[in-house]
Structures are given as C-alpha cells and as structure tokens.
Amino acid sequence: MSQPSTTMTGATGKPAAPVGARPRGRRRATVRGRGAISPLAALVWLAPALLLIVGVVLWPAVELVRASRSRYSITGLRKGPAGWDNFRNVLANDSLGTVLTNTVIWVIAVVALTIAISLGVAQFLTKDFWGRRFVRWAVIVPWAASLVITARLFTLIYSYYYGSINAVLLDLHLITTPIDFLGSDKLIMPSMIAVGVFVSIPFTAYVFVAGLGAIPTEVHEAARIDGGSPWQIWRHITLPLLRPAILVASVMNMIYVFNSFPIVYTLNESNPGFSHDTTITFMYKLAFKSAEKDVGQSAAAGLFNVVIILVAVLVYLRVTRWRDQEEQ
C-alpha cells in the first residue's frame, strides 16, 4: 500500500503542471543535447525494472490465464485443458449474485464513508494546535499495522462472549443481551465496513492533507476579504480545489477496498457458505475452502475480478469527467 501512495501524493502535491506549456520540440532537443545513449546501455539501465515487471506482473498474469483454461484435480494436479468450462462454472455458481451484491455494497460503502470522514480528519490535521504532530502520528497507526492483525483484533472486539464493545454496552445497561456483530446476517456487513473504513482513513486523510496544503493561502484570504462564510469558502473554494485529491483517493481506495482480503476473510471466518463473501474471498474459497476446491475456477474468478475493477475504475473516471479535470 505504501508505494503507490507516495507517488500519488507526490502527483497531487502540484496539481498545476507547467510542463504542458513547453513546446515539445525543444524538450526532445535537450535530451539529445546531453549526449545520445546507446540502446544497449539504455537496456542495461532498464533491465532491473523490466525484470521486475515481467516477474511480478506479466508472468503471474500469464500463469493466471493458463490456470483458468486448465482442468485441475482437487489435489492441485493439472489434468489437461478445460476450454471455457471454468468460466462457465463460475458464472453458474448459485452464490455469484450474492457475492457480487456484497462486493458492490462493500466497495461503495467503505469508499464513500472513508472519503467523507477523511475530509473532516484532514481539515483537523491541517489546523495548528498543540500536539498536532502527535495526532498526525496516531492517525497513521491503523495504517502501519498489518491488516491481518487488525482484523484479528476486531474479531475479539466484536466477539459475542468476550468482546469489549458488548462488555461496555452491557455495563452501561444500554443492552440486555450481547449483540452478535459477526454472527447476525444483518450486522456482519456493517461490522466489516466499519473496520474497512477504519483502516482506509489514514491513507485517504493524508492524500487530503497534501491536497489542502497545495491550495494557495491567497485564495482563502481573498475569499475571506470578500466576506465569504466558512461554509461558503469550504464549499466553493476548498472542495473544488481538492477535486484532484478526491479523485485520486477514490480511485486508489476503490482498488484497495475491492482487493481487500484479510478483513472480509477474517471477520467472516466462522460463517458457513458464501453469503457474506466479496469476489476476492470468493475466489480464495473456490480454490481452497469450498466444495469446488478448484484452482482453475478460482483462476477464472480471478480474471473476472481484474475485469470488474478495471471497468469500475474506468466508469468512475468517465462519470467524474477526469479529462475535464485535467484541462483546468
């Protein structure tokens, strides 16, 4: 998670790109002027990066496609080509509709709540107050902790018999019987979403902190002089200028949250069947836990996942008119 974040905050740090103003021809000339690099030398310098791309992105992708078109025994032994059977079987799975609905709810709820809450958190973090540095560090903690550990911790917090939430509510006499956060069909999704939001806030808030920092103070000053109320200033100055940061944060969060495995898997561990799975945990269970126990079907589901998130992101960019944004 940390790698893309640094590049993206860097990109949002200076949204107004002055590069476009420069004529293209001159730029090329300066590169040549510094001394031509032979293609071989260039290749040597590029080799580590290329190897990494081939090894980490391309090779697994090829393997995934190959696996999705193969027939596997329950032991994992490849038994021959399967054509499109794996894809057909995934589409014919009784639980697919439930899983897709869960995924949509999960992604939209977590991303929307995260963005809304992070906007407030970021505003708070940019204010000058005593102990701000300490608060900023504290906000990072949920991000720095391993997701598996966080999720495990929340199963204890939510627990019906030993959970601290239930203990507090019972002691305060707000409830008479414990709440079954993880066992009730109604409550498990909100419970998971709460954890998802909790771990997504730090990254998002810091994107917004960087975005707020990039807004020139003069604009705010001018608005104040013109008599704008705080709400008007925020609504008509801050929010529009934060738009690039919000777009980046939503796209990154959509991808992270969609691909989030540990939270859903861990909190949902004792529930039988697929009724509270998202497409990612569905894919894992297909391979190792469900009665299908079929690596091929799981690989096919994995390819569907890639397509789903790709389409979702492109639709989002289209709807939010990413290109218009760039023209500003």
């Binding site: 959509m254 691909n259 039988p272 126990k293």
Partner: protein, 423 residues
C-alpha cells in the same frame, strides 16, 4: 503527457494490483519448496522433504527436528522438515502439487484424492511388513483406496463427552446422560441456572462441522456411507440434525451454533460457562494445564435407550509421493517413524491416541486415556478412503451450519445429491 494516457495509467495501476493479487492465489507461492537432490542410486545418501501439519506450537517442530537428526544418524539421508499450520496446509500442499513440486512426505488429514491422482506410493512399496501388521486394522482400512494402502496413520483421536462437574452439581445432575432424552433434560437444567450458563457447546461452523455431526449420527445408528452407498440424508441423519437444531432453537446451546467453530466451543468450555461439549484428549491436556474447570469425560449418549455408545475416531495421514530415487529413503522414514519410541513419543507429546497395537499396550497404563482406548479399535471413521469424501467434507463444512436456521432435511438432501454427483 496526454490527458488520455494519464487516465489510462491510473487504470493500469489498478489492473496491476488486481493481477498481482489474483496471481498469488493462482499459485506462485511455493518457491521455497525445492531442494530435492534425487540421486538415482538407492545406496547413496538422499535428501527428502517432509511437510508436516502443526499440531502444537510446543511439540510438533521439536519432535520432527529431533526425528530428522535420528533419521540422519540411522540412514545417512537428510530429512528437510517444513512445519505448516492447519490453516495453510491445504493451500500449500495444493500449490506444491500444482507446481509439480510435491514434498516426499506429506502429513495431512486426507489422502484419497492424491491416491486417485496416482501420486502416491502404496504400502507395498514403502512399508515393511512388520510395520504394517502392527497398525490397527481400523486405520489400515481407512488408509486404503481400492484395496491398497496409501494413507499411513500418524496419530489418532477419539471423541467423548466432556462435562463440567461444578455445573452438574449446581444443577443437581448426578451422572452424565446416557440417552439423548437425558442429555436434553440435563442441558435444560444447566441453562436454567441462569447467569449465562450454557447447556451444550455445539460447534457446527465451517472448521469441523463434519466431526460434530459424525459423533451424533453414529449414536443414532446413522452413517455417511452404508454398504458403499452415500446415506447422508438417511432418516436417522435427518432425525439427528433435527435434534441438534431443536437444541439450538430451545437456546440450550451457545449463541449461533451454526457459526461457531470447534475451537470457540472449546474456549467457552474452558471458561467454565458450558455444561457439556464433545471433546478429545488434547482438550483434556489444555484443561489440565489451565486447571480452571473441574471436568469429567463420559461416553456419548445414544438415541436409543440402553444403546451402546459409539465414538468418532479421526486419524491423520503420512503419505509418500512417487519421485525418482526417493523410494528407499521414504521406506527408511516409515521404518523409523513407526519405532515405538518415535511414534509413541510424538503422540504422547501432542496428547493424541496411538495408531498401533503396541502403542495401545504402551498407553494402556494411563488411566486418563482409558475412556478413549477402550473404544478406539471400534471407532467409526468418516469415509476418508473415498476421494469423493474430500469434496463432500468441504461441502459439509460450508453448509451444515445453515441447517440451524434452515431446513435440516433440505440441507442433507443437497449434500447427498452433491456426493452422488461425485462431490
């Protein structure tokens, strides 16, 4: 940079992230599984690899490390040991086979699918006659697929009813229940104590639903398979599951039994809140160590009045993969493992039950194990000798719990149907 390429670049990051994640499950994880120098001659020293399940943090690795030293001293061969947690071992073993890089010996709770895929040595190839004749017949049978033995038992367990003596006294119950009717009445009395006491800890969650259901259905004259045919939805089994559901609807169990895993039920019993739970010898070990709960162990209650209590036995397996040049080393492995001072040391340390005739004799002196040892030779097992069971078991784990809020017969009908279709 054009506007277009920027939009695409953001999308490409997403694509990359998704592929990388999907790729992990697609199977590239077992990079460390190598290291098998398969020298062709049987005489030269060989290196073989063992992938073993972790029964306990304290003992499993310690035992296998020492075993590897003994093995090296006795045979000159090297044994590489990799211990994997139960949570991960299905995934790891599947990935190893998928990458064409299985270990030489694998310790797992299933073997039949591997035998069906023709990946394993049979006992004819790698087990000395003296070793095989010492194994308990029930386990030889459960380890045999199509007449040949492929799954060598490493240890076993048998289930029995654990009851909390303190709660029993409080509720005025004199003796552990012998029939289901008595059991239900006792569970009611304990629940009626109030204060959050739970009559019976019923774990039908995905961890081991098949185990809990097995011991109940065996005590109602049911079985998973009868005379070679699947009988998952037999009238006895429907009756059994309906009975378990009735416990849940009467609130005699802990909250949400269809979503409670075995370990959670054990933890509740260990906290002293639960009157009865089906347990096995390692649970006794945990309870003794904690010293918090005064408990007794009794045979399971039967449905019929005056019936003979049946027990559910479980054994895990050590199976050997066919690889060029490893046969002699694998045979030497089994010869050493089934030496009484090896196998019994392991089983004792882990708190399980023996798998050999000599082992039963060696453990007989322990009064705590008497309840189990008497029943062990006649224990009922799940049909692990049928490769279909490997899938049916998963279907049971993922579906049985839904019967607690749904229709028991419908759930079992569906499982029966999937079993008849080969999983």
């Amino acid at each position: 940079m054009t506007r277009r390429s920027r939009a695409w670049r953001v999308a490409a990051v997403g694509l990359g992230a998704s592929i990388a994640l999907a790729g992990c499950s697609g199977g590239s994880g077992a990079g460390s599984a190598g290291g098998n120098s398969s020298s062709g001659s049987a005489s030269g020293p060989t290196t073989i690899k063992l992938v073993a399940a972790e029964y306990s943090k304290d003992h499993t690795k310690a035992f296998w490390d020492k075993f590897a030293t003994d093995y090296k001293a006795k045979t000159g061969n090297t044994l590489q040991v990799q211990i994997v947690s139960w949570d991960d071992i299905d995934q790891q073993s599947s990935t190893m086979v998928q990458n064409n890089n299985p270990p030489d010996i694998l310790n797992l709770n299933a073997y039949a699918s591997y035998a069906k895929d023709n990946l394993l040595y049979s006992s004819d190839d790698v087990l000395s006659a003296s070793v095989k004749s010492d194994l308990l017949p029930a386990f030889v049978k459960s380890g045999s697929y199509q007449g040949k033995m492929y799954g060598m038992p490493d240890l076993s367990s048998a289930r029995a009813m654990f009851y909390n003596k303190t709660l029993f006294t409080k509720a005025g119950i004199a003796a552990p229940p012998k029939t289901w009717a008595e059991f239900e009445a006792d569970a009611k009395k304990i629940t009626a104590l109030g204060g959050g006491d739970i009559g019976y800890g019923l774990p039908l969650g995905p961890e081991e639903a098949q185990g809990e259901f097995s011991i109940w259905l065996f005590n109602n004259g049911g079985d998973w398979k009868t005379d070679g045919k699947w009988t998952i939805n037999s009238p006895q089994n429907v009756e059994t599951l309906t009975f378990l559901k009735s416990l849940a609807t009467q609130k005699l169990t802990q909250n949400n039994p269809g979503k409670t895993n075995r370990q959670d039920a054990f933890d509740l019993f260990a906290s002293g809140k639960v009157g009865m739970v089906v347990g096995f010898s390692p649970l006794a070990g945990t309870l003794d160590k904690a010293g918090k709960v005064d408990y007794g162990v009794a045979p399971m209650p039967t449905k019929a009045d005056g019936g003979t209590p049946q027990t559910f036995g479980v054994t895990d397996y050590l199976m050997a993969f066919k690889k060029p040049g490893n046969q002699a080393a694998v045979k030497a492995f089994y010869d050493l493992y089934y030496q009484p001072d090896q196998v019994n040391t392991f089983i004792k340390a882990e708190g399980f039950l023996p798998v050999t005739t000599t082992g039963i004799a060696a453990f007989a002196s322990d009064p705590k194990l008497k309840t189990y040892l008497d029943t062990l030779p006649n224990a009922h097992l799940t049909p692990t000798d049928d490769p279909t069971w490997d899938k049916v078991k998963l279907a049971v784990q993922q579906n049985l719990g839904t019967a607690m809020t749904g229709d028991p017969k419908a759930v079992l009908d569906k499982l029966q149907q999937s079993a008849e279709n080969g999983g």
